[in-house]
Amino acid sequence: MTLSLVLSLLALALVRGTPILLASLGGVLSERAGIVNIALEGEMTAGAFAAALISFFTRDPWIGAIGGVAVGAAVGFALGFAATRWRVDQIVAGMGINLICTGGAAFGLIFVFNQAGVTPQVPAINQALWAMVVLGIVLAAALQWVLSRTPIGLRLRACGENPHAARAAGIDPLAVRLYASAIAGALAGLGGVFLALGELNLYSDGMIAGRGFIALAAVIFGRWTPLGAAGVALIFGLLEALQFALQGNIAWLPSDFLQALPYIAALIALLGASGRYRPPAAEGKPYP
């Protein structure tokens, strides 16, 4: 009885944590290359909306999933392009992208489906939910290995720490940052696909609900490492799952407090883990 309860809690934690995990991996990748990624929220929104839209018209959820990832990548590419070629302030560009994506999705709902707030039900890949959970964890491990153990990872990190030195070593920091940002967008888009087609079978306004920003928090708490960020993302998932499990079971605890639980926990963690964060040295700084 208790064991099955714990198991179902952990299962829920994995499901709630995976979209955050996927986006946070994107965040790690782009930030280690030197691009601050405030736009994860918008990239997740774009991925989720595009996935539902494409799945609706093709009636093939797999094409929808691929389309969602591709659109996320395109948004990430746009951020990377603006940050490298136009040298815009990355935080400003990210905020702009978030506005464009959330507004664009809401507009698209009216424009395509002629109804506000939510798409009709679309073909989904709910059967692949657990495969995507596993994929997320495998991706975290793979990215950790790539970043810390391979020449590509070393080059990417060099662009985030000291792009001038990277340039001197024959690396093109602009190209690396651009592609890192695009792949980051693809990962965040996959997080959106997970929500729209994995857990549910539709897109609704506000369904991302700040997960992109939580993923950003996971990046920082995870100290810019893929496994660290993934771990923190899953802890956020666990706290969310706990909130469901405790709801109504503890009379003296107001439910609003339970809703705030993940965020209060994050604040307390900030108190305890101070001064141990060092972002990539050249993060957010335009090159050259």
Binding site: A82, R85, W86, R87, V88, D89, I91, V92, A93, M95, G96, I97, N98, L99, I100, C101, T102, G103, G104, A106, F107, L109, I110, F111, A116, D205, G210, F213, I214, L216, A217, I220, F221, P254, D256, F257, Q259, A260, P262, Y263, I264, A266, L267, L270, L271, S274, G275, Y277
Partner: protein, 338 residues
Amino acid sequence: MKRESVRALTIGTLGVAAAMSLAMLASHVSPILGFNAFFYGAFGGKQQIAETLASTTALLFPALGIAIAFRAGLFNIGAEGQLLIGGLLAGWLGTRIDVPPALAITAIFLAGALGGALWGAIAGWLKAARGANEVISTLMLNFIAASLALYLVTGPLRAPDAAGPELSLLPHAYWLPTLLSQTRATIALPIALLAALALRYVLDRTWFGYRLRAAGEAPEAARRAGISLSKVALWAMAWSGALAGMGGAALVAGELHRFNTQLSPGYGFIAIAVALVGGLEPLAICVAALAFGALESGGLALQAAAAVPKDAIHVIEGLLVFALAARRYLGAKGAAAQ
């Protein structure tokens, strides 16, 4: 104005107009009718101008607050939560006091400022004492503020006359006087403009403003010059929150006349765009707030007249942010061409 800023502004405006035309065409609306509806909705008459000014005010307070934090190098994305807590304290105090209206309105604004300042100061203290990243802390505090407000108004502060998650109505005498009768444009706007003037003076002409800018622009140099970065972080976040909280108080006393947890449809987030478009300069932010206020009210009219959803306006706002962010590049290209 410099040649390149004119150029960037022209490109930005044309880009936005083109995007809006495309959106209208996509919705099978003639752009001429659409723009007509848009401008009528934003400036077409007393009521429309008042709506624009009301949106301007709601955006201006948090945008000024955000500018303080950003100038100090602190990425405060918690204006939404600070606005909410400020509004909560203001709305609570407004139903509890019995004094002359002028005094009450002053007290309501001060309560809003205090609430926002306290909420902002939490993030400031975490930064100062523990070096905690303010992006995370202000973000988390937004979520916590929403839960806290909901808990308080449905629990301990529950009002007998509340129809939703809200406090009691303020006494009629405490409602902010309107600038234009029978509209939502209130004296909160001149108060916000005064705050912008004061902020410009403080940032440019005072020792506090100097330390704040030094900490933001060259933290290491500021530290070596004996400026305490911790103190700057704490006070910048507190003042930042205070202005956002005053925005909450203005919404409570000027528009809803009570506190409601749905007080702000994301003003604290749009205000980030306003502050950035205004280049973090208080007076430019006033102009940006007016532009965004017009977009908000014109967008509503566009939705009613031409079935272009209001959210399309967020796309426009995002493009505006993007265009202005890219102005250095566009300006540099312009200079190179000459």
